[in-house]
Subunit: 354 residues, 2 copies
DNA sequence: TTGTAAGCGTTATCAA
DNA sequence: TTGATAACGCTTACAA
């Protein structure tokens, strides 16, 4: 078949007009059963397939949603992308993934990339952009942000209670007798981002337990890949600090820290307990298995897709801020006797209007 | 900006025709510097953005390539997708990812999904389709297959020497004194797929060393996720077999097996050595770190994109079969004294014409 | 070197 | 309930 068959061909074959074919294909009402059958069998026998470029041009919609994330090589984002593709699919939408490498320039590019004209809207997970970049957020298409409301009230956000969750994770360690808790993934200059919030949650838990925060236990890490966890943990240990626990701001950092601890002869959890954040699958298979704060990725995905579709349908609608729930998964890396009952645990989903 | 600005608007602003604007936008030759500048500044001041639907409709090309893979939750495919997006990007193409779940029905769907009419061609990694499905492979668009040439000579393939690589991995264990080597990920009824080839390679190595294959050491696993490795390893151990090594047909299976072995009190590598296949990042951070057969994902990605673009440009061109190289990464999970020098190691890329 | 105009395949407006 | 026809925004012969 050298040249594609068009609605014209189908219409000719079925003895109807193109409009009727269009009506059938789009499930419009007011099509008699007989003509529908005739059209459908014509479509079948000709092997007709809709030309989506023509449809998109005419409709002014592509039927595609963009997802801009740091990298699919980060397990959390790979698993999130999986859920996001599925969620979009359930809504009859196609998801187009774009990687930013968590680099500021590429995150800015994502807002104006060629993919924007291929998609009806964007779900954006910025990591490098900060408060000072607010003015750059002038998307050409509807936008939903993933992660903290660090920029603006102008767009809908899907996020979680990072501060509470980090506090719960840290309390989980404190309840098991740990006092010298290192934290890995700190962004020193950040004020309102995910790293800052999780650090605040960590500090909340320490304060609540009357533990003084120790700067020697703060492990900085710009990106949050495994090697960054390795470097940060090594720096902490090299400085002579003697942590009895580690809170990784995400699971890959925690995996990196775990790797370093074991390489240097520490037993986990006996000498040093470790907890991560995100709940990627890898945490169920590491040795020891890794305790973590599990985030509902499916819920994030479904919510983000739904919010974006609302924004596309009604660009003037009120931006919304939706929190998804979390849950502490206690595994072998923190399997220690609990000294006192801990209240912190999980939270249900919640919405608050901006 | 309620209504999008078009080339018409730009042309009017610059005082030229749409053809000239088009010439500038598409970097056509024969455009004077002055008009180019006028057009560019008009584009700038109007904030003009190309309408890709209109371009695609007119050109008959979307500029998008499809990638159908089992799931982004499988680390190997997530890392491959990362490389593939980057490779397509370098060619000025946009990559559209589609998940099949490695289910036969969805793999068949992928060939005719709505995404096919959004893309100029498809890079397809089938896992569930077998020889008997050859006749279903009648794509509507150019196609490049990833993995073994299990179906047909009609399409270009990018693959690796699975049999040789599996033989090398198994020999790696044998060279370290292991004789009772379990293999995890077997597909019993498969004849020509990846699982069959890797099993053949395993058996080649055993035969070469004069070791008799033992069915009790064959661990079946349909999909190749971590839990499948857990189940297969448990079955082998429950049956009373006493392996002294495990060859995982991919890294996630090996991670699952490793997890079971450690949970059941085996020391790795002292009691049981483990080697995987793929070279995902996780293998560098597991405890112990996992030996594996590293596949050059970047090379697969670049090659597949290039082959697909050739096929799109010239649909009548000769299908090609390209092997990418592999390398045994020896890590802690097989860190044992080597009894005799082993020849098997790595292989350079190679091409053979079909 | 630049302009004119036709047409890509679909949907939408109106009329029949 | 169906049909004719005009867009949608771009590229590309062909003309100038």
């Amino acid at each position: 078949m050298l040249v594609a068959t068009t609605m014209q061909d189908v219409a000719a074959r079925a003895g109807v007009s193109v409009k009727t074919v269009s009506n059938v294909v789009n499930d419009h009402p007011h099509v008699s059963a007989t003509t529908r059958d005739r059209v459908l069998s014509a479509i079948d026998s000709l092997g007709y397939r809709m030309n989506t470029s023509a449809r998109s041009l005419r409709r002014g919609r592509t039927g595609m949603l963009g997802l801009a994330l740091p990298s699919l090589s980060l397990p959390y984002f790979a698993e999130l992308a999986d859920a996001m593709i599925a969620a979009a699919d359930r809504q009859g939408q196609v998801l187009l993934i774009e990687q930013t490498g968590a680099e500021r320039a590429r995150e800015i590019d994502a807002l104006r990339s060629v993919r924007r004209s291929m998609t009806d809207g964007l779900i954006f997970s910025p990591l490098a952009l900060g408060q000072q970049d607010e003015h750059l957020l002038q998307p050409e298409a509807p936008l939903v942000l993933l992660g903290e409301r660090i920029f603006t009230d102008r767009f809908s956000h899907v996020t979680m209670r990072n501060r509470e969750a980090a506090r719960a994770a840290t309390s989980h360690l404190i309840a098991r007798g740990r006092r010298r808790i290192a934290v890995v993934g700190v962004h020193p200059d950040e004020v309102v981002g995910t790293a800052a919030l999780r650090l605040h949650g960590y500090e909340d838990a320490l304060a609540e337990a009357g533990i003084r925060a120790d700067p020697a236990l703060y492990g900085e890490a710009g990106p949050w890949y495994r090697p960054d966890g390795v470097r940060a943990m090594n720096r902490i240990l090299d400085s002579g600090a003697k942590p009895d626990a580690v809170f990784g701001m995400n699971d890959t950092l925690a995996i990196g820290a775990l790797h370093v601890l074991q390489s240097r002869g520490y037993r986990v959890p006996e000498d040093v307990a470790v907890i991560g954040f995100d709940g990627i699958e890898e945490t169920q298979y590491s040795a020891p298995t890794l305790s973590t704060v599990h985030i509902q990725r499916d819920e994030i995905a479904a919510t983000a897709v739904q919010l974006l579709q609302q924004t596309i349908a009604d660009p003037g609608s009120q931006p919304r801020l939706i929190d998804v729930g979390f849950q502490i998964e206690s595994r072998a890396s923190t399997d220690l006797p609990v000294l006192a009952p801990s209240s912190a645990g999980s939270s249900p989903p919640a919405e608050q209007h901006i």
